[in-house]
Symmetry: C2
Subunit: 503 residues, 2 copies
């Protein structure tokens, strides 16, 4: 429609403070409201509108955009701009959230960790989450410590504190590490809201999209997720047997990875322990390549036989090992208190990042853990939980041997939380998990611990969360599941696993 | 040097599992160690090496890189590869951390928040940090609640809980908000490790580098930092007077910003309160443009006169207002417990992000806050702190009026934590801060609350952290500082502020 008879450039005031596009929009809006331009009217193309008012095309576009956002006109792509029906107004009023979200950096596996942490269905025994037994949480000790000390603490200790952490806790952790052969001063310690946060901060500070990281395969799901979310490409180092330093060196030369993430003691999920010799060889190689090693060590205090070898960090002669510890596995997860040990320059850079995330870790938890360490409560607690978890491990091992040995291989872990099992016969661990759900038992299938597709013959059972009676029941349910699957396999003569195209 | 007499392609084993570059490197290393190739020998260029062994150039490069990492050769750029001196080995053994770090996303202002939170020099009165008075922390109530309830709580409540938060706390917060006219169910609430974390999560979920956000100017430093770290470009909406909705609409049309960040009640730092009419008009405009509003509301419970108007979230008719609350300002910062209210689809997406950062917020703090809310302790605590902070505000206002009125303009805030002051005469607030340090008093200069350079005439004083005696002393020190500066200005006949090139 030719609108030049209703309005023209003379009506614009170039001296007015109001932008020209707004003035044009107002002129048109006025004609629409007066129904001089009735609904359905096709308005001139943007170029014509620009000519009519002697303005730039951008100004014309902005005028239409403004009218569109007011619901007065609508644009049909490829056709033109039309005066809207009265009821078109308001129809688009809800915020379209999903369109606003940034791309989610993860594949659907991302929710595995969440699902594991979430509560399983009623009546199901979950051996999935890697959690200590709530019945063993030292809540009484914490209550005593709270009451003994709340009167003496400076209230300012519950105000803002440095990002790096509550200093008495940093000191206590440094002392604890030094006693384990890891030389550390207060300045080497960053307290974390759980060691997961350490992985997150390291990914922010060290990784750009496209960078390589080396990880054991299988390994901790949370670490895989954080590194992948940072856009890193994962190089997998098989770790069921001895680590291949040759393969690692090959990675170092070909890809120059930013870091190696490793759990040397009671590995999650395999339970494996690196020997002292392996550790020395790894450090020698890492030193030569100045490779950053992120050593995650949540389990080494939970040994049920002989003491494991010293941490990699204790052997660190080149300043390249970053050590992550946590109180979640030995005390309780709700403390959300972990720590990182490294050179001060790294601690400082990580703290700059952490301030954006939570300013600093929770003071109450940090204060409680400080007293727990300083009043020597950790040693006696560890003695108690080690004794109990060792009994559970032995009970579970015997039961698995008795009821599942035909279908499963497993090694008895020397410490930590997990049995790592391998199916001997046909079927995948995901299939077993589906059947197991019907028998009200759950665990984590092996594929979750890998970044690449696997044969999926393996799965992880956590033996620390439940008492012996429940563990025995869980093994019975697992055995029943495995028997059912073996029977079905015989009946169906299942095809060997194939890759089917997704169409 | 021609090395073909010492080695040749016949020595490679293409059937060997060892990569060819490694085999080549080993051959050369052998000749170096036997000093057949003495130190200082120039090795053939990579192309020649590749021809010699009939391998690709990449293989040749990798062979040299491997030798270099072993310290056996070194490369002089533009010249060639040479056999190293024995002492060259090991010289590069320390990890070069700063070279490994990702680019820090912030300008040096980034550390302002940190510095404010950190402890000031001995004997200095700091009115910088926005903190409640530690003497008013309800630690006794918390101790009672702890002891009353620790025997009844299920230990599993101290294990892992959903990322979204401790459900009883989410429910209690939803109830609290509903009583304030903000309709909310449990599913609308995400508990946070401080409301700072809400800003961080929103930036991760909504902002890509280059996106626009609209912020008041001046505004909360922590929000500026988080949005800038996400790569967002900030559009500033002056807020000393009434907000200009015309300017905001202009921004919306020109730049299509991802969100508006706003503190409608007792704004930080200006203390300003948006009127009920302004709020309605803003919501009307936001609805038309389907603009996401992030409403930060840490202070509205701290009113010292009449009740402020209802939150923007209470007026939200289009599902676009995200509400942030915290217990840091009304209880104590060390709780590190805040919350976000929004549509479930947003809560879910934020929780997916939060799991990487800390799995979930601290259980002990969440459990304590739940009891505090459910046992009705908040109302009585708020009555007590409001009474005390009102007295402090009045004392401070009178003292400022009495001692600083010649040099300063300020408005008496109706709530919150801050006096926002403006210098009447020559000098900048940063200059005043420098002089003030000598008189052992500190505060935050106005420039810190802006994203663009300002005239820097303003600064913020927090009146809640210290008792009335200390506040009076602080005003005396400030008055002394201002007098000294006025005198110096007269002596020096200071030039008006100019922009000097940095050379």
């Amino acid at each position: 429609m030719d609108i030049s008879k209703y309005m023209n450039r003379a009506e614009l005031d170039t001296l007015d403070k109001q932008p020209l596009y707004l003035q044009i929009a107002l002129l048109i809006a006025d004609k629409i409201q007066k129904q001089i331009l009735p609904s359905g009217t096709k308005l001139p193309p943007e170029r014509e509108l620009a000519n009519l008012f002697a303005v730039s095309r951008t100004t014309a576009i902005n005028a239409y955009r403004k009218l569109e956002q007011q619901g007065l006109v609508w644009t049909k792509v490829g056709s033109g701009t039309y005066v809207a029906q009265a009821h078109d107004v308001e129809s688009l009023s809800e915020v379209p959230w999903p369109q606003l979200f940034t791309a989610y950096p993860q594949n659907p596996l991302a929710s595995i960790l969440r699902d594991i942490v979430s509560t399983p269905a009623r009546g199901t025994i979950s051996l999935a989450a890697g959690m200590p037994d709530p019945a063993l949480y030292p809540l009484e000790t914490f209550t005593e410590l709270f009451n003994h000390n709340i009167g003496r603490v400076a209230p300012a200790d519950f105000g803002h504190i440095p990002v790096e952490g509550y200093n008495p806790l940093r000191r206590a952790i440094a002392t604890m590490l030094s006693e384990k052969g890891i030389p550390a001063l207060t300045e080497n310690i960053l307290t974390l809201s759980g060691s997961q946060q350490g992985l997150y901060l390291l990914s922010k500070v060290l990784l750009e999209p496209g960078d390589y990281v080396v990880m054991e395969a299988p390994t901790f799901i949370g670490a895989i997720q954080v590194f992948q979310a940072a856009g890193a490409r994962v190089l997998s180092l098989p770790c069921s047997e001895k680590l291949s330093l040759e393969l690692l060196e090959d990675f170092l030369i070909r890809y120059r990875p930013k870091l190696l993430y490793i759990i040397p003691t009671y590995q999650n999920p395999t339970g494996r322990v690196m020997s002292a010799q392996e550790r020395q060889d790894l450090i020698k190689l890492a030193k030569r390549h100045r490779l950053v090693i992120v050593e995650d060590d949540p389990y080494s205090d939970l040994c049920y036989g002989e003491q494991p070898p010293q941490a990699l960090k204790a052997l660190d002669s080149y300043g390249g090992v970053v050590y992550l510890g946590t109180f979640s596995k030995i005390l309780f997860p709700g403390l959300r208190t972990g720590y990182l040990a490294g050179p001060p320059i790294l601690i400082n850079r990580l703290a700059l990042e952490k301030q954006f995330i939570d300013l600093h870790t929770n003071n109450i938890a940090q204060w409680l853990v400080t007293m727990f360490l300083n009043e020597g409560k950790l040693a006696e607690h560890l003695t108690a939980v080690r004794r109990e978890y060792k009994k559970r491990r032995d009970t579970m091992a015997k039961a698995l041997q008795r009821s599942c040995a035909n279908d499963l291989e497993f090694t008895v872990p020397e410490g930590g939380f997990y049995f790592w099992c391998k199916l001997k016969h046909a079927g995948t661990s995901q299939r077993v998990l589906q059947e197991a759900a019907k028998n009200r038992i759950s665990f984590v299938p092996g594929a979750a611990f890998h970044t690449a597709p696997t044969l999926d013959k393996e799965f992880r059972l956590c033996f620390t969360t439940h008492n012996e009676a429940v563990l025995l029941e869980s093994v019975q349910r697992l055995a029943k599941t495995l028997t059912q699957i073996t029977k079905k396999n015989k009946d169906n003569e299942a095809m060997p696993c194939s890759v089917w195209p997704i169409i």
